[in-house]
């Protein structure tokens, strides 16, 4: 069963056809890698799917049309995305960044804060413990009280992913999760992504690190110039000469 189908998406910026008739199907419980050269339109695809950019075409997520929904509603349906350039909430602590994530917190409603203080505090405690667990996994738990703005580029990348995972989404869109992350940790994260997939989560991952992405993906989609150039199993894609040509400019 497909958790996400996108049909004929288009997004043009003036003369630039960033996404130009792109269709993609994501089967539930799989990891799909999205690769392609710089400027192929991968991030723009993410923006369209997650509602941050409006274009044309049809997007169906969990059987529901989402191409007209605002980003927060799409997120509430269980789809979360990370950003290629990580967006840390600068003047909030690392722990606060993470504790923000869980949806439908009791204490997010003003009357609960005023009238049901005890229940709010209880849930805060649970969220805090869970957040600490996630920070430990990403090995940034010692930074919990630092301002997120004080983290290094790679640490911000980790925080970005940690925050997305804290939501427990059914579909995660990761934009270059391994860029700037040290190899040991990126293997560990790959392992965790695999575990989460076993647990039923679905992933669409943009990544330029071809060995890493072909290793964890069940299927690879190759984009070029705003369209899907080809797709298939990782082993097939790795052997395709046209893909190598696009990536290596014909040297491969």
């Amino acid at each position: 069963m497909n958790i996400l189908t996108a049909r004929n998406l288009k997004k043009h910026f003036g003369g630039v056809k960033a996404v130009d008739g792109c269709s993609i199907d994501i089967e539930s419980g799989t990891i799909v890698g999205l690769i392609g050269p710089n400027g192929a339109g991968k991030t723009t695809m993410f923006n369209l799917i997650s509602g941050f950019e409006r274009g044309s075409g049809e997007i169906t997520f969990k059987g529901q049309r989402t191409d007209n929904l605002s980003p927060f509603k799409i997120a509430r349906c269980g789809m979360v995305r990370t950003f290629q350039i990580p967006r840390a909430l600068t003047k909030m602590s690392v722990l606060e960044n993470l504790m923000l994530a869980p949806t439908m917190q009791r204490g997010e409603r003003i009357w609960n804060v005023c009238l049901r203080r005890k229940k709010v505090l209880e849930q805060e405690q649970t969220i805090k413990e869970k957040s600490m667990g996630i920070l430990e996994f990403f090995e940034i738990d010692d930074l919990r009280d630092e301002y997120a703005g004080a983290l290094s580029g790679g640490q911000k990348k980790l925080l970005e992913m940690a925050r997305a995972i804290a939501i427990d989404p059914s579909l995660m869109l990761l934009d270059e999760p391994f860029s700037g992350v040290n190899p040991t940790l990126s293997r560990k994260i790959s392992g965790h992504i695999d575990e989460l997939r076993e647990g039923g989560m679905t992933f669409l991952i943009i990544e330029h690190d071809i060995p890493a992405v072909t290793k964890i993906s069940d299927r690879i989609v190759v984009m070029n110039e705003g369209r899907v150039m080809t797709e298939g199993k990782p082993e097939e894609i790795k052997r395709r000469k046209d893909v190598l040509d696009v990536y290596l400019g014909g040297e491969g």
Partner: protein, 307 residues
């Protein structure tokens, strides 16, 4: 000694009365700007709506407490009305619309005499417990009342800010894309912040009316908005404690310079003195920005952070 105290005490009471009113007023702005990142350049409109609604209702026979509640509620309601069209747009729209709104409110106060009594203003309304408290102690009583109100507003805001609700506000201030991507209805939170901030300004307006006993359109000039901004920036943006201290400093400064000509000779007429004070405030703010840009209670390390 007691004589000196007797002379100074009313003077200090006056400073503290104004400081508590403006602290409440500025706390509303601090919620909007300091914690949510909303730029409101028409905060005075809500100050005026709170004051006028309360006194006009009271004068037409409405019990005082109900008039106050109505004033606060109406100020909040206008925050809601202004927020609906502007908060979905880029942040500068709110700034523009609120400036315009505060001038519209003032011109209604001036010109719609059937409703607002026009330029002559309103007086003769009730003050809280005016029959129960002896006249000579009334200001002391009012000060206790105002400090209590300030304390309630302060602690309520602190509780809100430290809750998950406040966390969402802060995330909006930092980068609203993030809370959107995490499923938070950013528009709704901004609206809530604006409504509460405006209602608090309305409450401050009724406090002002109770203290000065006579209000007119000139009481609510655009400069009042900038007093609130000065207080927030002086105290340290996003610090409620700083806001209260900022209000005290501003009013101590205002009152101090009012009587300065009695101590040292100044080469100004009294009306020039008002303008001179604004120049000094401007200079002091510039010095603050140069030497302590984070404000009195702000955190210096925050200024060095990058996105």
């Amino acid at each position: 000694m007691t004589e000196l105290l007797g002379a100074i005490l009313p003077y200090i009471t006056t400073i503290l009365l104004f400081a508590s009113i403006y602290a409440v007023f500025a706390l509303g702005l601090n919620l909007e700007w300091g914690f949510t990142g909303l730029i409101n350049f028409g905060h005075v409109a809500f100050f005026a709506i709170g004051a006028y609604t309360t006194v006009l209702l009271n004068i037409s026979g409405c019990p005082l407490i109900i008039s106050v509640i109505a004033g606060v509620a109406l100020a909040g309601f206008f925050g809601f009305l202004l927020g609906i069209p502007t908060l979905r747009l880029r942040e500068d729209y709110l700034a523009i619309v609120t400036i315009g709104f505060s001038e519209v409110v003032r011109s209604i106060l001036l010109n719609e005499e059937w409703l607002t009594r026009g330029p002559f203003g309103v007086h003769g309304f009730d003050r809280p417990f005016q029959d129960a408290v002896p006249y000579q102690h009334y200001n002391t009583f009012l000060l206790i009342l105002f400090v209590a109100i300030l304390a309630i507003v302060y602690f309520a805001l602190e509780r809100l800010i430290q809750s998950p609700w406040g966390r969402v506000l802060k995330s909006i201030r930092e980068d609203e894309t993030v809370p959107s991507a995490l499923g938070k209805n950013v528009f709704s939170y901004k609206l809530q912040s604006l409504i509460i901030g405006s209602a608090i300004a309305g409450l401050a307006g009724t406090m002002l009316a109770f203290y000065i006993t006579y209000i007119n359109p000139c009481t609510f000039k655009p400069i009042e908005t900038f007093y609130a901004w000065i207080i927030v920036i002086l105290g340290g943006t996003a610090s409620n404690k700083g806001t209260i201290v900022g209000a005290i400093i501003l009013w101590a400064f205002f009152s101090g310079t009012k009587f300065i000509d009695r101590i040292v000779p100044v080469p100004f007429e009294s009306h020039q003195m008002g303008a001179f004070r604004m120049i000094v405030i401007g200079l002091l703010l510039m010095l603050l920005m140069m030497y302590k840009p984070e404000g009195i209670f702000g955190r210096k390390e925050e200024l060095a952070l990058s996105d």
